[in-house]
Amino acid sequence: MHKIAITSEGPSLDDQLDPRFGRAAGFVVVDLETMATQYLDNGQSQVMAQGAGIQATELIARAGVSCLLTGFVGPKAFKALAAVGIKVGQNLEGLTVRQAVERFQAGQVEMAQAANREAGR
């Protein structure tokens, strides 16, 4: 089973990809074998004073995803994602969730080696 999570402004494949990771509205989790989707609300992380990226990592790690597609990831979230073995495709802002998944399946999303945002942004 191969599941990926995409930061999303809403619950469906046709919602806009949320450029933020830690403070994303939620995550669309896609099972790439069946294309079944599941939505994880991230409201709890959005209201945290600090550590939103770490909490968001805990949320998607529990859902069993192996890859994250998003816009920007900060350094602490990147460390947490790397530690749990979730690969990160970033700089995907401006796409819909579906477009991001298609780009990923076409092999056009490079996996990031480092964070692309400062902490707390």
């Binding site: 945290m48 550590g51 770490i54 990592t57 790690a61 529990r62 602490k76 460390k79 530690a83 749990v84």
Partner: protein, 292 residues
């Protein structure tokens, strides 16, 4: 007596007032720079530094050999400084507020105290009194833990008697509240501009609930925005001193001089401020102004 010199807006003259008050003080006085993110009181008082010490915060160090990944520490931590995901434990020492909760709650005694450097505390003497200052480490995000350690030393230094004047950081959030919360009197330094008034009101709202005597010092008086005067009258906040908007003062400040030493009139302004601060701190004394 501890006097905190605060403001809402930055650059209104907290350090000017602190340095001048310390210079005209009529007894033993300790000048304290609690604006640890950008301390500058030393530029004016030019103290002789007699000692310094690093300030540390206790952060968790986990012995993974003993950890059972029960998650008790992560559940307790409100700051995500420690996270447990499956058979994986991560610590983020830079997020830690140093409460020690994770050490207390771990059932396996797998967590031991480590340290994060917060900055440096230094102390010494000025011409007329003592000097104490904190300086936050570059890259450190939290100033209240360092400020608490500076205040602990302040209390030690005051144990022998005397008064302290605290140069507080600007703003009205945790650092500013931390700087004024243990004081006996709060002086709010402001300037008669729309921006000055806006932040002055925020400061009043933040500090009024502490129930301490408060007074206002208007710096750059004569700039023309009168709302501060009306507000102070409404709230019963006494205006203890006015420092005129004057190029001579700006020039002296730019040279690192103490404003109370610029002229006899300015000296008199701060001597008068000193006696009014004493009146404000000691209820029942004649001349005490009403405060909310």
């Amino acid at each position: 007596m501890i006097i905190a010199v605060a403001s809402g807006k930055g650059g209104t003259g907290k350090t000017t007032v602190t340095a001048s008050l310390a210079t005209v003080w009529d007894g033993p006085v300790l000048a304290v720079d609690l604006d640890v993110e950008e301390p500058n009181l030393h530029l004016f008082l030019q103290p002789t530094i007699e000692g310094s010490a690093p300030a540390q915060l206790t952060v968790p160090v986990v012995d993974e050999a003993r950890c059972t990944y029960c998650g008790a520490c992560a559940d307790l931590c409100q700051f995500k400084a420690i996270s447990v995901m499956g058979q994986l434990l991560l610590t983020f020492p830079e997020m830690c507020h140093g409460c020690g909760g994770c050490l207390a709650v771990c059932p396996e005694q797998a967590i031991s105290p480590g340290q994060r450097e917060l900055g440096e505390i230094s102390w010494g003497k000025t011409g007329g009194g003592g000097f104490l200052s904190g300086r936050l480490r570059l890259g450190e995000a939290m100033s209240p833990p360092l400020m608490r350690q500076v205040k602990a030393r302040l209390n030690q230094m005051l144990a022998a008697g005397g008064d302290a004047i605290i140069d507080a950081p600007p703003g009205v959030s945790c650092p500013a509240v931390n700087a004024v919360i243990d004081s006996d009197v709060i002086l709010l330094v402001t300037e008669p501009t729309p921006f000055g008034f806006h932040d002055f009101r925020l400061a009043w709202e933040a500090f009024a609930s502490l129930g301490k005597p408060m007074g206002t010092v208007v710096n750059r008086a004569g700039l023309g925005h009168e709302a501060i005067y009306r507000f102070c009258e409404e709230k019963g906040l006494p205006i203890l001193a006015e420092i005129p908007y004057d190029r001579v003062i700006a020039e002296a400040y730019a040279r690192g001089r103490i404003v109370a030493e610029v002229s006899a009139e300015l000296q008199e302004t701060f001597v008068s401020l000193l006696s009014q601060v004493r009146d404000l701190a000691e209820p029942g004394c004649p001349g005490q102004a009403a405060h909310a």
